[in-house]
Symmetry: C2
Subunit: 491 residues, 2 copies
């Protein structure tokens, strides 16, 4: 297989786009802004889904399903919410087509106009809180801990595969609680679940924080987020968890009788991650030869490639390969034995490199003689010969090692590209050079935030949760500040 | 808990509607024709999904995801297809709302009209075959075996929870093959997968057959189906598998170079089952006290209810209960130990009966003394005392027995309500009385089929696959016929 993709240094953006397509992850569809997630890409997403779904269930959540469509009047009930989403809504206005030869064949039937337009959900708070009104009467009905896996639509003018698409897949948790504290605890718990997932499965370090008022979810009191650094130094928001206060409870009149029999409005949260995580996974670890997948999310963890000329050789190699495959599978390791005769070993090596398969085992006639196999790891490209008797244990350990190594590499990269800055000059200089994460003082006003964004394209990614209080002065206005915030250019 | 639902004999239709709501499976949403699938209902659907998904993967299929929206021009490309679906399409015409106080607040922005309207997918053949055009060049790219789990929208005027809703969840398989025979084999294989699933997991016997031309999927050459009998004698179509011939390949110009290098159009299939199966599951087995779930699909297979007055009693019972729970769980049996003090045992008994939990274990202070537990099965309502030392093995066997018993009961019911009929008088008489499945001769014309439907509301459910050839005369026209077909009133 010839070199499939441009290098990162040539054109990082093109590298990403081509990698997504060439590795068989996704492609643009002829439907404006919508993508097709191809089987290999979807297999990774399924692993993400299964892992997250288990984490949600382990923390007491159940799945449910709410309608795709939201009546316009519902959608408008929470003022900030509609303000935030109105500009990017797909609207259903009719429910029938008809044949009209004079007007070019099949047309929308003007007689089938809906009385009230329906919005294709960009997020489901409104339609869900409308249901919660009927589900919640007493403190005994709380907490209500529900998650939904769904497709949502936000009409985007500039789209990029996985990172920003008009339709995307996600999960949205929507919970209801009796007290403010409990709702805040839930918001923070789910942020931690996301952070655990991204660190331990996606092998990507994250910074936890809260958004500024400007960047807050439309309708939330507080938006928590995790931010991860990509290889070009830009930040990518990998998940958000919102404390909704009583905003949606008030908009949809959701009250409960507390233990004393007094009526109160319910407290809410919502939280979500999306197929955007696929973009983060690809961008964070991959190299100029293709994907680098952390073993914990790789659909194929080990590929076995036979090297042979004659059919008798293949038969002998297959016997050994099938034995390894079944032993590895019994340890829950996913293995593909690729004995297709339509492609040469070199082509297969390049193909599995492109697809980011963590471990490749090659077996040839010489290996059979010597009782060895050749094992190559995708992350560092190191190869070594291993005794057949040691292979299964070696691979098991190697997969863990690769998972850790990928994480450590991303962590080092993030550390190298994170800076504290005390003047606006330094700030602008850094952004021109390397980008990365910049911790700087900020005066807390939206005006300053907006000005910095206009002048440098960097935004406040978050006010970090775990950073220490520190007296300082805003790099832009010189006004006093008590904490550094995280600035970066972002996806 | 007071009697929650009307009886089947009182009002079968109301019984179903109330059961779906009271058992916490689903409810109508304020969005016209759309339902909310509640957590308990969704948990059953998830079990169906997981089981089917494994069956699809075991037969070589991969999951992928295609856009929700289909441009109107694509949709119109296959003539029969658009003819079949045009009357029930939700159409997106705009992509933005705006604030317009004079016209009542938030309105659709007339400046944000789409150049080409988008159809919310009622099924995805068109958008998928448009992708296949780029994915398939040579015989090496075939077969292409893809499945998608998705929501689809068909605008229905009269809706019923699970059975007929404007939006529903389903899976749609879309495969492409080099030869006609291979495509037909795939169509039949997937019909068999569906039949296996419905028989062995849903515990419901099915009749396999092909649809008449009238009832064929819009765009298919042949539609295979499985039909199941509900407790009111009506038929419910539980799954369909379509042989598409080269219709979509021709509409979307999907050709491949065969081994001889010659270009040919690709052969296609598509197949689907939906949340309608939930309706079938509920209707087929449940009784006047609530759901009866086959153990293979029950989210909770065993519930343990403690019977106690004093807290010390609960502590002692809990010890035994937790031991059983963990032993059962180690055998992959899902167990809920309900020690809530907010509800009495009698309330809990009724609740789990309503929810169709297959096995209930009750443990009281006397049981502790005697070393027994009381085990009740949901299907027959039989109760018996079992030695604690035998409990785990007993429950394991009982779950299998219940699965078989539910299936046998449905099978007997189907047999009792299946009749061969040779005259139109008998035919009408039977339909007036009991309904059920009627095997009768038909002359093979759409005219006769249509007339019988108008006069009796019974339709040809299928031309059964495994029925013997038999000379006869059409019950309606008296013309010659070579095979009996299956008539029934249907959901």
């Amino acid at each position: 297989m010839s070199k499939a993709i441009p290098s990162r240094s040539e054109d990082y953006s093109l590298w990403y786009n081509e990698l997504v397509k060439k590795a068989g992850l996704a492609e643009n569809s002829p439907v404006r802004g919508c993508m097709v997630i191809k089987p290999y890409g979807f297999a990774i997403w399924e692993k993400m889904q299964q892992t997250l779904d288990k984490m949600f269930k382990d923390t007491g959540h159940s799945n449910a399903y709410f309608p795709l469509f939201i009546p316009k009047s519902f959608f408008s009930r929470e003022a900030d919410h509609v303000e935030g989403f109105a500009k990017e809504c797909a609207v259903v206005t009719h429910y029938r087509l008809k044949n009209d030869e004079e007007n070019g064949g099949v047309v929308v039937d003007p007689d089938a106009k809906l009385e009230e337009e329906l919005i294709v959900r960009p997020t489901s708070e409104t339609v869900i809180w409308d249901s919660y009104k009927n589900w919640i009467q007493s403190y005994r009905d709380l907490p209500l801990l529900i998650n939904q896996w769904a497709n949502v639509v936000r009409w985007e003018m500039r789209t990029r595969l996985f990172l920003r698409t008009a339709e995307f897949l996600w999960q949205e948790g929507h919970t209801a609680h009796a007290t403010k504290n409990e709702a805040i605890e839930e918001t923070e718990q789910m942020l931690n679940v996301y952070a655990d997932f991204v660190e331990n499965f996606m092998a990507l370090p994250v910074t936890k924080g809260v958004k500024t008022a400007n960047e807050r979810f439309a309708g939330a009191v507080e938006t928590y987020c995790i931010e991860a650094m990509m290889q070009d130094g830009k930040a990518l928001q990998a998940g958000t968890s919102h404390f909704l206060g009583q905003n949606f409870a008030k908009a949809f009149d959701v009250k409960f009788a507390n233990k004393e029999g007094k009526e109160e409005f319910v407290w809410g949260t919502s939280w979500g991650v999306s197929t955007r995580l696929m973009g983060a996974l690809i961008m964070a670890h991959s190299d100029d030869d293709g994907l680098v997948l952390p073993p914990n999310l790789a659909p194929i963890q080990v590929v076995i490639v036979p090297i042979y000329r004659k059919d008798e050789e293949l038969a002998a190699i297959s016997e050994v390969a099938e034995k390894f495959a079944s032993e590895l599978r019994s340890k829950n390791i996913s293995v593909q034995f690729d004995k297709r005769d339509t492609h040469k070993p070199g082509w297969k090596f390049a193909e599995y490199e492109l697809k980011g398969v963590p471990v490749r085992i090659a077996i040839g006639p010489k290996d059979l003689q010597k009782g060895t196999v050749e094992i190559a790891r995708r992350d560092t490209k190191e190869k070594q010969f291993v005794q057949q008797s040691d292979t299964v244990g070696f691979v098991e350990k190697l997969l863990q090692e690769i998972q850790e190594n990928i994480h450590n590499k991303a962590k080092s990269f993030e550390q190298e590209n994170t800076h504290k800055v005390d003047t606006y000059e330094e700030f602008k200089e850094l952004l021109k050079k390397d980008g990365g994460f910049i911790y700087a003082h900020w005066d807390g006003t939206s005006e300053t935030e907006e000005k910095i964004k206009q002048e440098t394209k960097a935004t406040i990614r978050c006010i970090p949760l775990n950073s220490e209080k520190e007296e300082g002065t805003c790099i832009y206005s010189g006004k006093p500040s008590t904490q550094r915030v995280l600035f970066a250019k972002a996806y």
